[in-house]
């Protein structure tokens, strides 16, 4: 999927076609029925790469059959999870690959239009994408008769205004409709009542980008990568205290320590790793002693964390985990849409306590209070944002309670070398 992203031409129609691009879509639209495509994606075991990891083929099968109402696809390109930057690469370096996946998805689900919801801050990727879309229309790949098959499909770019919650699929739909980005209560689910009230399927940029390869090379080929329960590859975005931060496409199930120490070449300046967040800021952190875990949900779950978006954030032993907690909780406090009580009030309360602890004014009882507040937020709200805010707090306290206790004991931060807030 990322093989040719180093080639500038890959972002153009000509360059993409030169690498065999758009042949998978031709194959799907001319030789396969929609049901066969859905079945193929199901057999490949492709799971959504946006963070939740839901089975893509199954999701596509939820779309109602028939033509009573127009059906829509939405491509979630609102990549806002701190530590995650893979979609930016795919949007700006391989837009045709994603568009081809979208067209195949549209064929499979009977969708007549796709809205690509691009994070507001991704101005350049959005421009690149728009150019690619324009090329597709000119070449007859999109529009009234895609690839000359008579199948109509349109793709529209919608630019967000910069709110993390708009990456949540129903918050995205609200924003797409011009409203304040706030998640919708479910049911009804988007497959019944999605964008503008129409049946809608929402998939991530990377999810769509896998699809042409599955159609071209088959489900078995895709299953040749990854684990039995988590097939395929994914793009890990490695950031933080490593020599070679960047994006690495690797099979799911690649061990975290391999990603950190071999691909990203470990911490700078001979430092030791203190902890790693495996899947973006909302996922619970793992201590250095637990990095021998395959990066797939079935294994990460055993260590009370998740793959999330695959944003691997590495922290060395100079890091103050209370400061990390302050930064993360500040982010979630700032980005909570404010709709649900637990999330609105919980994120704010937790952040205020974290700041107080970091200032040296914490109490030992605050640590249990933090866990108690987090438990009251978890699993009780309209969307998973409150969980996403609670989990890192739980993870940090689970593995680095000593850092918090040291702040309380000494009345100040014991990590002077740590990054400034």
């Amino acid at each position: 999927m990322s093989e040719h992203t180093g080639d500038d031409a890959f972002a153009t129609l000509a360059g993409y076609r030169a690498r065999g691009g758009w042949e998978a879509a031709r194959k799907a639209l001319t030789t396969m029925s929609p049901e066969q495509v859905v079945e193929l994606v199901k057999n490949a075991g492709l799971q959504g790469r946006g963070g939740a990891g839901f089975a893509t083929g199954l999701k596509w099968s939820f779309m109602p059959k028939g033509n009573e109402k127009p059906k829509y696809l939405v491509c979630n390109a609102d990549e806002s999870e701190p530590g995650s930057f893979k979609d930016r690469l795919l949007l700006s370096r391989a837009p045709h690959q994603m568009l081809e996946g979208i067209l195949i998805g549209a064929w499979a689900t009977g969708a007549e239009k796709t809205f690509v919801y691009v994070r507001g801050e991704y101005a350049h990727p959005a421009d690149v994408l728009q150019r690619a879309i324009d090329e597709c229309y000119e070449a007859g790949l999109l529009g009234a008769s895609c690839l000359g098959t008579g199948f109509r499909h349109d793709v529209v770019v919608s630019r967000g205004a910069g709110a993390y919650i708009c990456g949540e699929e129903t918050g995205l739909l609200e924003s797409l409709e011009g409203k304040k980005g706030q998640p919708r209560k479910k049911p009804p689910f988007p497959a019944q009542y999605g964008a503008f009230g129409m049946p809608t399927t929402v998939n991530n940029v990377e999810t769509f980008s896998h699809v042409p390869h599955i159609v071209s090379r088959g489900a078995e080929w895709f299953r040749g990568f990854g684990t039995e329960k988590s097939p395929g590859t994914t793009i890990f975005g490695v950031s933080g205290h490593v020599r070679r931060p960047g994006l690495y496409e690797l099979p799911l199930g690649t061990r975290l320590d391999e990603i950190v120490f071999e691909h990203a070449q470990g911490p700078l300046g001979g430092r030791k790793v203190k902890g790693v967040i495996p899947g973006g800021a909302s996922m619970p952190i793992l201590p250095a002693s637990q990095l021998d875990v395959p990066m797939a949900n079935e294994f990460l779950r055993e260590r009370k964390t998740m793959l999330g978006t695959g944003g691997v954030m590495v922290m060395d032993d100079t890091t103050c985990m209370v400061r990390v907690a302050c930064v993360i909780t500040y982010f979630f406090r700032d980005e909570s849409c404010g709709q649900c009580t637990q999330c609105r009030e919980g994120t704010g309360w937790i952040h205020k306590i974290m700041e107080r602890i970091e200032r040296g004014a914490g109490q030992r009882s605050d640590l249990d209070l933090l866990l108690d507040i987090a438990s009251k937020m978890e699993g009780q709200t309209i969307c998973a944002f409150a969980d996403a805010a609670a989990w890192p707090v739980q993870g940090l306290l689970r593995h680095f309670r000593a850092d918090f206790e040291a702040h309380v004991e000494h009345g100040k931060c014991p990590f002077p070398e740590s990054f400034e807030l």
Binding site: K185, R333, S336, C337, G338, R344, G346, R356
Partner: protein, 529 residues
């Protein structure tokens, strides 16, 4: 379909959510406690306060009762330890930023945050952090004041403005715990139903300028009544203390007003204690002198004036103008009076106002339909006969004829030999009458009224007038007795009159004061209103 709630089986309608089903059964917070803030029976479901979580057997996570549709055999638990802990959690979080200013908050005593904190809150605050600072006393428009820091973001007011009047002045701006309720720039909260937002605000964030700081609510007795501002007959609670009505609050009646009332109707309670009330019976001399009189003296004077006309021109020269503000019982007595007299000279006039598609009906009086049901027709022909001299004595209930016929009515009535007025508020008509009776307003009397759709509803006395005043029916009854008309033996008894009305009129069968259910009942043949 069948569900069980805390082990008790209930039959509920398909497609309803748990809260709706409990509400349909009349059990919600009335046997089955599922506390809630954002849910309101007449607004769209929001699902954001998260307080109504319940346990459903077979479902791993707690579910919100407001958005979970009932299913056959669903077993719901509303009061086990798990549910209690969840409620406790929500309450604690809601109170993290809510000011503890109950002693100075106007909503204290009827605040849902206060109530639920008492029921489900934790006994000790665990927060050491300063509470959110926000704006105080924000003027949202002509009727509502907003105390921003008390808002718990249930969004009832936002949804109300969007969904009921359709004006959408309010929105929640910014995110997270910095969220604020505000009006859209340049759009004050100003619609015909704006004050309902104070009723549905579960805390003291939105209060009405009219009621704010007038009295602590625990001093108020809520007396069920009916707004008489227009023909809709919206059900209200009259907030009464010290023999004074301090406010109207809408009283739920799904057949009439749902849970809303219009602002103008709500403020019409000011008419009860208004300075222009006729504050006692009076005799007016030919020289224009006004003399206070007892009921007996006024009745005697009225009877004498009418008798003189009868003796001169016969009973057919006596007419009556009915009032659409009077009760069915008052009107029934008036009709019986005319029948006993042998006169057919009757009519009524009803003022109109700006109607809308929601609650406000064109006729700005509560009982125009009752007038029609009891056979009173338009006042115009009667006024013509007055002008022509065929009617020389007139008994007038209320001054509504001025609101419709204006000075033309005054000119017509100027030539009468006898004009007896029974009215609650001062008007130009008062100066023409020889005898003026002070009447009670609906908030001061017992009886029934019939709304525009033919629904008969009960009014009960909430306050006593601070001066001598009587129901129109009683005044007419006493005049009839003074004229020795048949059928008026004994003291005026409104309950007995109501029963007689129900027996005499097929449409009113079973609609007497004692038989009416709290939500009223439609006239037979009137359909459901």
């Amino acid at each position: 379909m069948k569900i069980t709630v805390d082990g008790v089986a209930y039959e509920v309608a398909e497609g309803r959510t748990i809260l709706q089903a409990l509400d349909d059964l009349g059990l919600l917070m009335n046997g089955v406690d599922v506390p809630h803030y954002c849910w309101h029976p007449k607004l769209s479901i929001d699902g954001s306060c998260r307080l109504c979580q319940v346990e459903i057997e077979g479902v791993p996570k707690l579910q919100i009762a407001c958005n979970t549709v009932v299913a056959e055999g669903m077993a719901i638990h509303t009061r086990n330890e798990r549910v209690r802990k969840a409620r406790e959690g929500v309450m604690e979080l809601l109170l993290v930023n809510h000011p503890l200013d109950c002693p100075i908050c106007d909503k204290a005593g009827e605040c849902k945050l206060q109530d639920y904190a008492f029921d489900y809150g934790v006994p000790h605050a665990r927060t050491r952090e300063p509470r959110r600072a926000a704006k105080k006393r924000v003027d949202l428009g002509p009727t509502i004041v907003f105390d921003q820091e008390r808002c718990i973001f249930c969004r009832r007011c936002v949804r109300f403005c969007r969904e009921v009047p359709g004006t959408g002045e309010l929105g929640i701006f910014v995110r997270g715990d910095r969220s604020v309720l505000e009006t859209f720039p340049g759009t004050p909260l100003d619609n015909d139903y704006s004050m309902n937002v104070a009723d549905i605000c579960p805390v003291g964030a939105l209060t009405t300028k009219d009621f704010r700081f007038k009295i602590r609510v625990w001093f108020l007795e809520d007396v069920p009544g009916v707004c008489t501002g227009c023909a809709n007959g919206c059900n209200v609670h009259l907030g009464v203390a010290n023999n004074r009505v301090y406010r109207y609050l809408p009283r739920r009646n799904d057949a009439v007003n749902g849970t809303w009332i219009c602002d103008e109707g709500r403020l019409s309670y000011h008419r009860i204690g208004a300075a222009d009330r006729i504050d006692g019976h009076a005799l007016h001399g030919a020289d224009g002198r006004r003399e206070q009189a007892s009921l007996d003296a006024a009745v005697a004077a009225a009877a004498a004036a009418l008798r003189a006309v009868i003796e001169r021109q016969g009973p057919g020269a006596i007419g009556a103008l009915a009032s659409p503000h009077a009760t069915n019982e008052d009107l029934f007595v008036l009709r019986r009076f005319l029948e006993a007299l042998g006169s057919t000279q009757a009519g009524f006039a009803v003022p109109t106002w700006r109607a809308d598609a929601l609650l406000r009906k064109p006729e700005a009086a509560a009982n125009a339909a009752g007038c029609r049901a009891l056979g009173f027709g338009d006042a115009a022909p009667l006024l013509e006969r007055v002008r022509g001299g065929a009617v020389a004595g007139l008994l007038v209930l209320g001054h509504d004829v001025l609101a419709t016929a204006g000075t033309a009515a005054l000119d017509a009535l100027r030539g009468l030999d006898a004009l007896v007025l029974a009215d609650s508020h001062r008007s130009a008509l008062e100066g023409l009458a020889q005898v003026v009776f002070a009447t009670r307003v609906p908030a001061e009397k017992l009886g029934t009224i019939t709304n525009h759709a033919g629904r008969v509803q009960r009014v009960v006395p909430a306050v006593e007038p601070p001066f001598e005043a009587h129901a129109e029916g009683e005044i007419v009854w006493r005049i009839a007795q003074a004229l020795d008309l048949p059928g008026f033996a004994g003291a005026y008894d409104v309950r007995a009159i109501s029963k007689e009305l129900a027996q005499a009129e097929d449409a009113f069968a079973g609609r007497d004061l004692d038989a009416l259910p709290p939500e009223g009942a439609p006239l037979h043949g009137a359909g459901v209103g």
